[in-house]
């Protein structure tokens, strides 16, 4: 049973990414949306956390939420995949269930 975990808060605001990473299963993936996209930006104290996460899990970030915040796709941690809303829908259907870390 695979789960897509969505994170919608910046790691500088809440620890939902950290909580998620503590319990995530091998077959699960993470999608960063809304303010959660800040976790994917390179050069922050959370970049290493995400760098480690992409070694063992698929990590995605929602492109429209990156652009809405003026963040560029070339400024994100290597290994993080950018998807649009269509890709978001595909991920939801691809994984057995979706868990939103609110």
């Amino acid at each position: 049973m695979s789960t897509l975990h969505t994170i919608n808060k910046s790691p500088f605001d809440r620890n939902s990414l950290g909580s998620c990473l503590r319990v995530i299963s091998d077959s699960d993936a993470i999608l960063l949306i809304e303010d959660g996209i800040y976790a994917a930006t390179s050069g922050t104290i959370f970049s290493d956390v995400v760098k480690a996460a992409v070694q063992s899990h698929s990590v995605y970030v929602l492109g429209p939420d990156l652009s809405a915040r003026g963040m560029k796709e070339d400024g994100i941690v290597e290994g993080v995949n950018v998807v649009d809303y269509e890709g978001f829908v595909d991920l939801v259907t691809e994984y057995d269930k979706t868990n939103s870390w609110l």
Binding site: N8, D84, Y85, D90, V92, T93, T98
Partner: protein, 130 residues
């Protein structure tokens, strides 16, 4: 695939209702069925027709009403959450002895059982919130 959406946050607060709307549109465009959109907690505030956002801003409630019309969406407002926040339809206003109602076109008020049913009937339940 059959998808259900839950919104826990009011409009213009952070981004939950916008994200849910964009997701729902993308899912419909890809040919998926939206079994139900359930408004829970502060999410019920997305269903008021009395809000007047600035003209150069998006009108979140109208966007949902429009999408409901186009795709016959089932937009359900949680009754307990709605009563606490002063969101009423005509029947509820009468039942509670209130002088007005404020629910927008395309939304209906019902109980939490509708969320449980959506969780059972839909293949996926996606929650948007704070």
């Amino acid at each position: 695939m059959k998808l259900a959406i839950q919104i826990n946050e009011g409009p213009y607060q952070h981004q939950a209702s916008d994200s849910a709307y964009q997701f729902t549109r993308a899912a419909l465009a890809k040919g998926h069925e939206i079994f139900r959109v359930f408004l829970y907690h502060d999410g019920v505030n997305n269903a008021t027709r009395l809000a007047v956002p600035p003209q150069d801003d998006r009108n979140i409630t109208q966007q949902w009403t429009q999408l409901q019309k186009e795709h016959e969406l089932d937009l359900v407002v949680c009754i307990a959450a709605a009563q606490r926040r002063g969101l009423l339809d005509e029947d509820e206003a009468k039942r509670q002895g209130k002088d007005a109602n404020n629910i927008a076109e395309g939304f209906r008020i019902s109980g939490l059982g509708q969320l449980i049913e959506a969780g059972i009937e839909a293949d996926r339940l996606v929650v948007f919130g704070d």
